[in-house]
Symmetry: C2
Subunit: 386 residues, 2 copies
């Protein structure tokens, strides 16, 4: 089994920052291509190149010094990655897999269409008329999404009726990652809750699933996860873990795959979104699992055996810290740090309202205590309490 | 409570490297003064100054850009630290405390002499004649130690009888950290085993003890720890934890204090050595405790509340990886990584025989399994098996 020791990461956000943390003990060499010298990961990584990841020359030069290329985000043009791969670079995940996390229309066509996996009813809609026809066929409300480039609730509309169908088309649909953006119309799933499963897969086909998490979104942004998902039937949890591994294998993912799901009121689940990188719903694993998602992403892309994804305790809650009125999170440890079991990850980002600037994690035997401590600490760090 | 955000670390070994890992989530800014550009921590830290830590100008310049100064090792001249502290820099641990980890004669005088804590019988010996007199008084064998500068078995002699008393004086006793080196003669303690307790103390006097570890030394080098120490009476463990906290408070330690002890065959313990920095016998805490020793050292020196030092599972074993016939530890994860619960820390150091180049950690419910897995993995990584 050959392993790759120099890993290039494109994107300098908090995911790259936490990948870097995980790389140190494994003694993997990380090179970072960052958007600027002061972004989250660029502040801590030893070897940083500042450059534009959409510029083929910048990315090609960066790729010359590495064994494997991986990502903090999904915005690198697919066509550029395809060229790098054709030139012999290990791109992990490879563009043929990654495109399913970049393009929601392709993802739905592959997962729901070809593989028959559970999904909301959906259709690519060329214009408002097509979206209206979909709504009349399957009922209102609908969800409309940009096929590419959306994140944290951006590029998503809830369409209550025929009169709102112009909205997604009112703006110009700009290219994202060098590709055309379309509008995907989907059945509005009146879900009981949202779930997530993280899977890691290495190039030798070894594949492991983390426990299933319950995730809470507000305004389209993940604010909390609890792992394992409280009250989830063990057979259903195992089914979801298998589903994650099946998608990873079918798409040929190398690295992490996050599958976000919606649980219908009857307990059935449908796939909502995919990501192929460390995911917000897997941050709990830093403190809560034997092997964090960040370590397993690195092991996977480096071609190494995967670490055990098991939870280390009955319950683990991760709560995001969004930018609020506190401007120095580390100083606020003087207050929230009095809970000696509270684990914090601050991302070194300047504080802007609503921006993800850190997260806190708690774990233990008592679900209400675990959730309560995480919520209290996050609220304090956001300036909402204390 | 004021916290300090920019922490300067003198020394670029693996302890600084693991401190750096722990600093990222806390968003503490680290500046490193390293011996060279390729030493263990200098390979991963973002902001590195290369320079000689015994040069007052180098250290003074380095100190200009930081809030707090702390250490990877104990070799910075006490006199230099005293000057920096007098000039207003926060030196943590401060030189008045640190000198007890630098100078074994001072340590014995303070702990055994002034505080009456349990210690082997001891005396500073000016020459071979004085050492011989000590042996005739308390019996052979004796241990002779250089008061300063020894490490990993260097600067320590076992003196079997009067005819060997010249040995420690046969070499010239060079200065260490700018101070005179003397020979301390000590009773040879025929111990049942060695123990260690790590304590963290912040400048506000908050002080926490980690569980007591059993440590195994070979040729003067720590090779293994198991935590908690198997079979240790809970009352004795609590007494050792109190002893650690008392020493930290009496000496005014800010940061970590490691107390190495010898357990006599009747169960009584005596203090062997002190260190005031992250310690090899505390490496288990990265994977085995709620808060690692590295995070708690940073919290302490930054003036933040301390994290919970509790163990997360019944047993945890750390085994050192010493340089052997394997020259690429990360590649060897292809083999040892098949134990998905094995945690590794590789230090990014070139492999030289007997050099500490990494460690592995295992944990779980079954002591024999936990120890067996760590020993097997370390042996493989040292080229002694497989």
């Amino acid at each position: 089994m050959n392993s790759a020791h120099t890993i290039g990461i494109i994107g300098g956000g908090q995911l790259a920052r936490m990948l870097y943390e995980a790389s140190i003990g494994l003694d993997l060499e990380i090179k970072l291509l960052a958007e600027g010298p002061e972004v989250s990961a660029a502040r801590v990584v030893h070897e940083v190149t500042v450059g534009d990841y959409t510029d083929p020359q910048v990315v090609t030069d960066f790729a010359a010094g590495i064994d494997v290329l991986t990502f903090d985000h999904e915005h690198v043009p697919t066509s550029l990655l395809t060229k790098l791969e054709a030139a012999g670079l290990s791109v992990r995940p490879g563009p043929a897999a990654l495109v399913h996390a970049q393009d929601k229309a392709l993802m739905r066509a592959r997962l729901a269409g070809e593989l028959g996996l559970p999904a909301p009813r959906w259709r690519v809609c060329r214009d408002a008329e097509a979206l209206r026809a979909l709504g009349e066929e399957i009922g209102w409300p609908l969800i409309a999404k940009e096929s590419r480039g959306g994140y944290d609730g951006h590029g998503v509309w809830k369409i209550e009726g025929a009169e709102q169908c112009e909205e997604p088309f009112a703006q110009s649909l700009e290219e994202s990652a060098g590709e055309k953006v379309e509008i995907v119309g989907e059945e509005f799933v009146d879900f009981a809750r949202e779930l997530s499963v993280i899977v890691a897969r290495n190039p030798h086909g070894e594949c492991v699933s983390y426990p299933v998490s319950e995730t809470v979104q507000e305004h389209g942004i993940c604010v909390e996860t609890t792992t394992p998902a409280p009250g989830l039937d063990p057979a259903r949890a195992a089914q979801i873990q298998r589903l994650g591994r099946r998608i990873a294998a079918e798409l040929g993912v190398v690295g992490l795959l996050a599958v976000e799901l919606m649980e219908r009121r009857d307990g059935e689940v449908v796939v909502n979104e995919l990501a192929m990188r460390p995911h917000n719903t897997g941050h709990w694993s830093i403190d809560g699992a034997v092997t964090s998602q960040f370590e397993n992403h690195l092991r996977a892309v480096a071609g190494l055996p995967l670490g055990d994804p098991s939870a280390r305790q009955p319950w683990c809650t991760m709560r995001n810290v969004l930018g609020g009125s506190r401007d120095d999170l580390t100083a606020e440890l003087a207050t929230v740090g009095r809970d000696g079991g509270l684990k914090v990850q601050f991302y070194g980002k300047s504080i802007r309202p609503g921006r993800k600037v850190g997260h806190v994690t708690t774990y233990g035997d008592d679900l209400a205590d675990v959730q309560g401590r995480a919520r209290a600490a996050a609220a304090y760090l956001m300036g909402l309490a204390g």
